[in-house]
Symmetry: C3
């Protein structure tokens, strides 16, 4: 799809400088862009690339417009405007409504005629698929699943019931929603399975990464609120509750019944133990071990620094002696204090 600079500026509600009729057909970085492509300057560290860019148009903040030798779109937040421009220039690839002849749709399922169900999907009983939903090949929606309008499931997604997805959700390939939670009682050393019968509820605009797993609740629901974004390979255990517009990066895990607030930003490989409460607006850096509740907004971390292995080995051993070291410091302080008084 092509669009002129003037049209793009109008769609994005931006001012522009330069040739209103300039055709734009794609987006690239300042370094890679060629004629007909839009680029953006979102960080001052790429400012030097402005001078040499071959982009036809660059999205810049007002203070950078004069430094840009090519056409510009002026934006308060160039990165956000790039996101919106990219949505215009690369619209989702949607199929017209219908059901592929190799897909199986149970007679008790309800599929809106505008939804597309691709090859080899299995849509079980009491599944409801709303308008304009796109379900790619190989997905299995077991039973008692609801998918809200304009949602998209990529290939090989599995959803077990009872699960409900809101509108405009995007589920990447291989994700599993509604798997049984890890719930067992112990009977003299043997684990007795607790049937997992709760729901999993995803709000609107929830996005779930590739091979991420979200367990259904044990009794009540696992809840992922509106606008939550989950990266790849995340594990969300039963009865977790994640508040609106929280984002979690790849490989993180949240154990059972933990409640995470809204507008949190949680890095990759973070592990959050069960039955905690994380306040709204909490940021957690990558690889952090969250072993206690966080009651106030703020930025939290844990973890040990990268070192050459030989140094690390020496410090590693000392970590086991920290308490002893602290006691020795205390003893020294006492002795030095006495010596000073003696002096």
């Amino acid at each position: 799809m092509g669009i002129t600079l003037a049209q793009l500026a109008s769609r994005l509600g931006c001012e522009f400088d330069g040739d209103a009729t300039c055709q734009i057909s794609g987006i690239a970085t300042l370094q890679d862009a060629t004629e007909g492509e839009l680029s953006f300057l979102a960080s001052s560290k790429y400012r030097a690339d402005l001078a040499t860019t071959a982009a036809s148009v660059v999205i810049v903040a007002a203070q950078d417009r004069d430094a840009c030798p090519v056409n510009t779109l002026i934006a308060k937040d160039p990165y956000l405007t790039y996101a919106r421009a990219a949505q215009l220039l690369y619209p989702d690839d949607c199929r017209a409504g219908g059901i592929h002849p190799t897909a199986l749709v149970d007679e008790r399922a309800q599929v809106d005629p505008s939804a597309w169900i691709d090859a080899h999907c299995v849509i079980g009983p009491d599944v409801t698929v709303a308008a304009n939903v796109q379900i790619a090949a190989g997905c299995v929606l077991d039973r008692d699943v609801t998918v809200g309008q304009n949602s998209r499931l990529m290939a090989n997604v599995t959803i077990h019931g009872r699960a409900s997805l809101g509108e405009r959700c995007i589920i990447q390939p291989g994700a599993v929603i509604g798997s049984d939670g890890f719930g067992y009682a112990n009977d003299q050393g043997r684990w007795v399975r607790i049937p997992q019968v709760g729901d999993v509820v995803l709000g609107d605009d929830v996005e779930v990464g590739a091979n991420t797993t979200i367990d259904r609740g044990a009794l009540s629901a696992t809840v992922i609120e509106n606008g939550v974004k989950l990266d790849n390979q995340i594990q969300i255990a039963h009865n977790v509750h994640i508040g609106e517009h929280t984002a979690i990066a790849g490989c993180s895990g949240v154990a059972g019944s933990t409640r995470i607030g809204s507008h949190c930003a949680i890095g990759g490989h973070v592990g959050i133990v069960g039955h905690l409460t994380i306040a709204d607006g909490v940021q957690i850096s990558a690889k952090t071990f969250v072993s206690q509740s966080i009651h106030e907004a703020g930025f939290y971390s844990s973890g040990a620094p990268l070192e050459p292995n030989a140094h690390w080995r020496r410090n590693f051993v000392r970590m086991k002696q920290l308490d002893e070291m602290a006691q020795r410091i205390k003893a020294l302080e006492k002795m030095v204090h006495e010596l000073s008084n003696d002096g």
Copy 2:
């Protein structure tokens, strides 16, 4: 399914107080339960909820029976009795034996007539599926796979051979069993693949979480003994051996040839390096890095505490100085000792 209190008590081998004819049709938490539902008091921290619960019956320990205003089931371990009650009230949803017309079963496969093979499954040569097995849509059992009776595979599970699953196993969606292990020899900087030809053997009552992966052995077998429970997104490398009734929480990984004992409880995001031995009865807390063998039962941990980022940054730097700090303490002790003797 509905059941009376008296019937339920009889099936569970419990005493009860109250209306023997009370009908029970579901389970919920003390807070959420409504008429016709069973609840349970498994932790004293929920005791206050007893007074206001709308549950028809509550499973309680003997000492709590008087505090409960509604019908009670008396149990030594209310949580365990809840598990067993839930199994009665929410029986697995099983299909009658048969093979879906879109499933492909190789002529050299043996499928018991009481087993159900759902849509789009592929059952390869020399696969044996025993009585009452349930295999959900999209599963691929490549070849040389044996599935013991009453086992259940959820949707989109992949099993490569040679793999053998015992009886009553449950495999959650997206799990992969029998993938090739990560085995290479190095030839002047290039990795040369070592064909992985060992088996993977799962005992009875093994449960495997969503998107968990279990590699086949390199030469001998990867072994998961009876009653082992693996949560979601766990990685079990080639030639690992996990003893009976051990449970491992989500996102943990066990590297090659490590041998874990029986009755261990291993938290989430734990990393266990290869070629170790972990004794029976070991508990390991979440996020622990297990870099050495554990020879005695007990509770083990590693990891650094959560802190506000600004504090953490200061302490983080010091972790690289630990050995130096220890040396300085030692030097101080020597000097102070000398000063004291001088005094």
Copy 3:
């Protein structure tokens, strides 16, 4: 397949001692091998097993040939020779070219007649599958995907476009290649999706583990160079670049735009934050948190030691006091220095 010792030695370019006509049909460990099987001595810690092995032939280094009571193959690097011998004795199980009747191949796809597309695969428009490729059941190659000759995709792999795989790649079950990266701009607390339109490019001889995920680039490409080996459950974010012959163990994650050099060896559960540069020839031990670029080849680590939980709790608390402890040591040094001068 059987082969004589003389034939095997000739194929591997090795000397041998013993019966040239000895038939070999499989490989096993020194302890498990029986008649007709080949074994190997790759580590001196198994030398004692030589005396009692029932293997028909053992691959040994020259210095061990006299200690071996059975036929030997003499190798400079017995482990590497074992790898090559195993490739000869256990050739990949390849199907003749063709397309399973239940597979769907778009009319705009090009599949070489020597390639095998198994049951229920979906090969979308503008997909190119080269000679001798093997694609197992349930794979979905969405669109704009190229698979180089002799590559093998195991069951239930998903590849989204635009993706290009080189020759002789092996993709284990459940892997996802070309999923959308985790890219959002923030608009007053709400995440605005950035369409991910870059490629993912895998070189030759790349191997990808079960349930591993590799995101496509945001604008430019995610690149995995020749000979890279990725274990199971790894997450590779958008625009990551991994250099030739680097190997990464299971459960590790690499955040966006990080560039990893060639010939690196990265352990399991390692987390590497985004926008870093890792030099060639870097080794990183398991569970390390890589929060900064690494500019020189070498062996790097982070992480805290395993301890009995009660000890750990005491040391854990002290980690928050490290900076304070360092200040106290400094103060003590000053005081002791003054006391010494006074003395």
